[in-house]
Symmetry: C2
Subunit: 207 residues, 2 copies
């Protein structure tokens, strides 16, 4: 590794749901408490035992897991591969930006629910803590590139930088992106400070 | 577009099978003649009406189409997404290089067949005619990069150059790669002559 290379762990996101309490109660029953299955790499987040089915106009995907904690609005994150299977238009968005996105029907053990919006293909992004962001001269909202090496080497552009003290530093990509690069969860990518974001005041740093 | 940009049409390959005559006869019956469904972009190649099921240790994929003409050895091209569904190890190879690759079971209307090898994830590649290759100073076997623009912009590296008079010029990627870049069949990518292959005698050319 050269002195100017910064590596980051890759977190591969499979399809999942961030759920609002009122929606969970429709699907799992009033007063239902989600059960912890396993901790995720982001502190305070966990995969729950609860899964639901996604029903689109063209197809169904079973066993889609709920990630906790609960959110104000239900957001369903799928891949483009999933969108084609479900028969819904893929809309690439940053997490939380769901206005005007497609909806679909969720089926749980106690009920079902048709959402008018909330299905996104999450834009690739990097979680950084403020100290790391400062070291790299990056700010929340910046977009950079990352290099994946190996037999299916590729450079992902337009990777959104998100900065928060609660984060663990990680590059989040979906299964299509991971498979295009033939990488798995926990492997490393290299941060690239491309000319779109390179500035005189943003030198490469070593961690 | 700058004077130094060369664009190429993207051909997205879904899972498919190139089949040997003796294997087709096991699956579809002795003397079976494949029926033409539609021409492919590569001259002389066509999708047949015939489909088979792929049976792996972990899962099944139905309706996988045979592409013609017949070949000497059966080769099954799938995505990494498919490999995980089938439960077989993904092996990325250039087309034709199937020695030591995983096998699986094919099921047709008249029989089934378990292959010891032949399942590959096809390495991304570009088909060029000799005149185009000459213009771009590229040779069969070279590897270059291509840029995909848009909301999921990415650069694919290690793209194999294949040169043959029978080809139509096209970048062939699989569904995982297309979905990672949010591109569809027939859209355009830009050829990049990266430093790995850049040489004094290989200037950028315009078509």
């Amino acid at each position: 590794m050269s002195a100017t290379e910064i590596k980051i762990a890759i977190g591969v996101s499979n399809r999942h749901i961030h759920m609002a309490k009122q929606d969970m109660e429709i699907l799992f029953g009033k007063g239902h408490e989600p059960k912890m299955l396993k901790h995720l790499s982001q502190p305070g987040q966990y995969a729950s035992e609860e899964v639901v089915a996604l029903l689109g106009p063209k197809g169904t995907i079973e066993n889609v897991r709920l990630l906790m904690p609960l959110r104000k609005k239900t957001q369903i994150e799928v891949s483009l591969t999933d969108c084609y299977k479900l028969g819904i238009a893929p809309v690439i968005r940053d997490s939380g930006d769901i206005e005007g996105t497609p909806g679909l029907t969720l089926v749980g053990p106690k009920g079902q629910l048709t959402l008018k919006e909330g299905v996104i293909v999450a834009a690739r992004h990097i979680h950084l803590r403020p100290k790391e962001a400062e070291l790299f001269k990056l700010s929340d909202g910046d977009r950079i590139s990352v290099q994946i090496s190996g037999s299916r080497a590729l450079r992902l552009d337009q990777v959104l930088i998100r900065v928060d003290p609660s984060f663990a530093s990680e590059l989040h990509i979906d299964t299509d992106e991971a498979n295009a690069g033939a990488v798995k969860n926990g492997e490393l990518a290299t941060l690239l400070f491309t000319k779109e974001v390179a500035r005189a005041d943003r030198p490469l740093a070593k961690v």
